[in-house]
């Protein structure tokens, strides 16, 4: 079985789906001849032609809006937004049309499309190249929001997203695009949307994360003396509340790690659900380790912003000491 990075797994997923389903197409900036600025679409235009792997004008709104029109009229577009920080120009299209067409047309029309975007900080990139806006999309009803953390899931979840009858925002962890390599089948397979994954069983506390932060959270926990049950949330909408609740009921303690800002960050929603369902199982208040309620600083300061080993271990200690 070949070893793939996340970006290679993403490529492999699109390749499988372009082969399998004639309705599938890829559109975005530089996705064709250049194979994407991160090479996520490398070789796809050569194999499937410029009508199915399309270099579009440099216009994120146009990409999302035409993908919507394509999806409504029978295609299965995969739109790439080059960096998730550029998803706010098409946000109106996503919020006002893509997310709501099924409801507003009472099921007559739908938008089965995927918007892929690399997200997150830690690569010393330019302004708006390091955003984590997942909560904005989670708060936009009608969207599914998927954030894989490692290559196997990246491929299986992307294939599920492409086949999903609803619009999916697919956030790809830019910082770990090439940092993790693992066995990934070349053949198609799916990983279900809406299911969290228990990455490591444990008994002292539950630690939840997703996306790029999973790698750093796991690394930090290796230095902890406690037995942590580590859960990769994977899909924030729909959220696999059950897996989370079962774990917290077992451990009685919980730490949540994400790099998006704290206020209204997705950890807040997870905490609310835990409180609603198993408050009396908790031995200590839940801790959040998140980005700050600030702009993400440029490269020189971004490590101060991002949750790292020190902050994660401190939160674990705090939760365990109560």
């Amino acid at each position: 079985m070949p070893q793939m990075t996340i970006v290679q797994a993403v490529n492999s997923a699109m390749k499988n789906e372009l082969q399998r389903d004639k309705r599938v197409m890829v559109l975005g900036e530089d996705v064709g001849v250049n194979g994407g600025v991160f090479r996520a679409t490398d070789g796809l235009q050569k194999e499937f032609g410029p009508e199915r792997v399309v270099d579009t004008p440099l216009a994120e709104l146009g990409i999302a809006a035409t993908a919507f029109g394509l999806a409504v009229n029978g295609m299965r577009p995969i739109a790439e937004i080059q960096f998730s920080g550029f998803m706010y120009a098409p946000f109106d299209q996503i919020y006002s049309h893509i997310a709501r067409i099924r409801t507003r047309s009472r099921g007559r029309f739908s938008a089965p499309l995927v918007i892929r975007a690399p997200y997150g900080a830690g690569i010393r990139a330019l302004d708006l190249h390091c955003e984590s806006g997942e909560s904005i999309f989670a708060h936009t009803t009608g969207l599914k929001v998927v954030i894989p953390s490692h290559p196997y899931d990246a491929k299986g979840l992307l294939i599920s997203a492409i086949r999903d009858p609803d619009p999916v925002i697919f956030y790809e962890p830019m910082r770990t695009y090439r940092l993790i390599k693992e066995d990934v089948p070349e053949k198609e397979y799916t990983v279900p949307i809406g299911k969290a994954e228990i990455e490591q069983e444990g008994s002292d506390l539950t630690v939840l994360s997703y996306g790029a932060m999973m790698k750093y959270t796991k690394e930090a926990l290796q230095k902890s003396k406690y037995s942590a049950e580590i859960i990769d949330v994977r899909t924030i909408v729909p959220l696999d509340t059950e897996t989370i609740i079962n774990s917290v009921k077992k451990t009685g303690r919980c730490v949540i790690v994400h790099e998006a800002p704290k206020t209204c960050g997705f950890a807040a929603e997870i905490i609310a659900r835990i409180n609603e369902r198993c408050f009396f199982s908790l031995e200590a208040p839940i801790a959040r380790v998140t980005g700050l309620d600030t702009m993400i600083p440029f490269g020189k300061l971004e490590n101060h912003y991002l949750p790292g080993e020190k902050r994660i271990l401190k939160a674990v200690e705090k939760v365990m000491s109560q």
């Binding site: 004008p57 146009g62 394509l70 009472r106």
Partner: protein, 352 residues
């Protein structure tokens, strides 16, 4: 050093039927007497629907209603050039285009009455739900037409917006994509001179809306939007070209909104009585009527019959609307996703 003109552009204007109902026979579209009567009947039906909608809003029988009064020719004439297999993307003032496309009238009232089921396009129709944000759907139409092209269909997509909509970035991006990918999309801009209160001159310093297409390499024309023959001519030509693989087109219909922006607006705050009177004289239905009478396609008796029939049709549709069973609260939740998530199932229980 070289300095020279490298390109010249022209904008064509088309009027077939003048304000007195006199047609330029050389420019007349290929329409039979029966078709002309059909167009007239449709415009009368649309006007009847429009007047009734306004009255029902005032009586509290529907919510906010958007009138298109005065724009019947630009909508009926353009939509009439489409086939059922074509797609249409309406805006909130496109009631007449929708009725021409056989959209059930009671569903329009249902929509304005605050019921999403009014947007559930019948399964056999390619009419997209009404777009509320201005101009955002112009780019959807480009995408829809793109799918038609990729599947090598002989169909076209038509989208309606106003001159205000052309100020939006979405319009630019939609036009640009349509031009780049040469998709069979026809952009109908109903330039009715006002975007709520803001006059046309404040939307763009360009002399015409039609010329905006030049920048995208898209064919365009400005037509007298109150002249149904000119509108149909331009639309038919654009649709036929699009079907033949010749790409998109823009049609600027110069027209006038004779009603307020919506039933919540008072246009007297920004438009003069005299302006309204001037445009009343150019009314598209009166104009076609004069033509038809001169051609013996219509007399007072047949006119009365057409009006009576339109009233009966609309009243019947009102009855269907008013007796429509109440919507199910479960519908709020049911269509958020293809399948209800556990979270939504819980929330549904809360409102039961």
């Amino acid at each position: 050093m070289v300095k020279k003109v490298i390109k010249n552009f022209e904008i064509e204007y088309l009027q077939v039927l003048d304000e007195n109902g006199k047609a330029d026979e050389k420019l007349m579209p290929n329409l039979s007497g029966k078709q002309i009567k059909e167009l007239y009947g449709l415009m009368v039906l649309c006007r009847t629907f429009d007047d009734k909608g306004f009255n029902m809003q005032r009586q509290g029988r529907i919510g906010t209603f958007i009138q298109f009064k005065g724009q019947e020719a630009s909508q009926v004439g353009s939509a009439y050039a489409l086939q059922d297999s074509d797609w249409m993307f309406p805006m909130y003032r496109s009631g007449a285009a929708l009725i021409t496309r056989k959209y059930p009238i009671h569903m329009l009232y249902l929509y304005y009455g605050g019921d999403e089921r009014g947007l559930k396009t019948p399964q056999n129709q390619n009419n997209f739900p009404i777009c509320i944000p201005v101009g955002t759907h112009t780019a959807h139409a480009a995408g829809c037409a793109w799918a038609q092209k990729l599947r090598k269909e002989k169909n076209a997509t038509m989208v309606y917006t106003g001159e205000g909509g052309t100020s939006k970035g979405d319009f630019h991006e939609g036009m640009n994509f349509a031009g780049v990918f040469q998709v069979p999309c026809i952009f109908v801009v109903e330039n009715n001179l006002y975007a709520i209160s803001v006059p046309r001159a404040k939307q763009t310093h360009a002399e015409t809306i039609a010329q905006k297409a030049i920048a995208y390499g898209i064919r365009s024309i400005q037509v007298d939007g109150n002249d149904i023959f000119a509108v149909y001519n331009a639309a038919k030509e654009a649709v036929d070209s699009a079907r033949a693989g010749k790409g998109p087109a823009l049609i600027e219909c110069l027209t006038y909104r004779r009603a307020d922006h919506s039933t919540s607006d008072d246009a007297k705050r920004y438009r003069s009585e005299s302006e309204l009177k001037e445009w009343a004289k150019k009314d598209p239905i009166d104009r076609l009527e004069k033509y038809m009478k001169s051609k013996k396609l219509l007399d007072d008796k047949s006119k009365e019959e057409i009006i009576k029939k339109a009233k009966e049709t609309v009243e019947k549709e009102v009855e269907i609307y008013e007796n429509f069973p109440a919507p199910n609260p479960e519908d709020i939740v049911k269509y958020t996703f293809s399948e209800m998530t556990p979270n939504l199932k819980e929330q549904l229980e809360e409102i039961k």
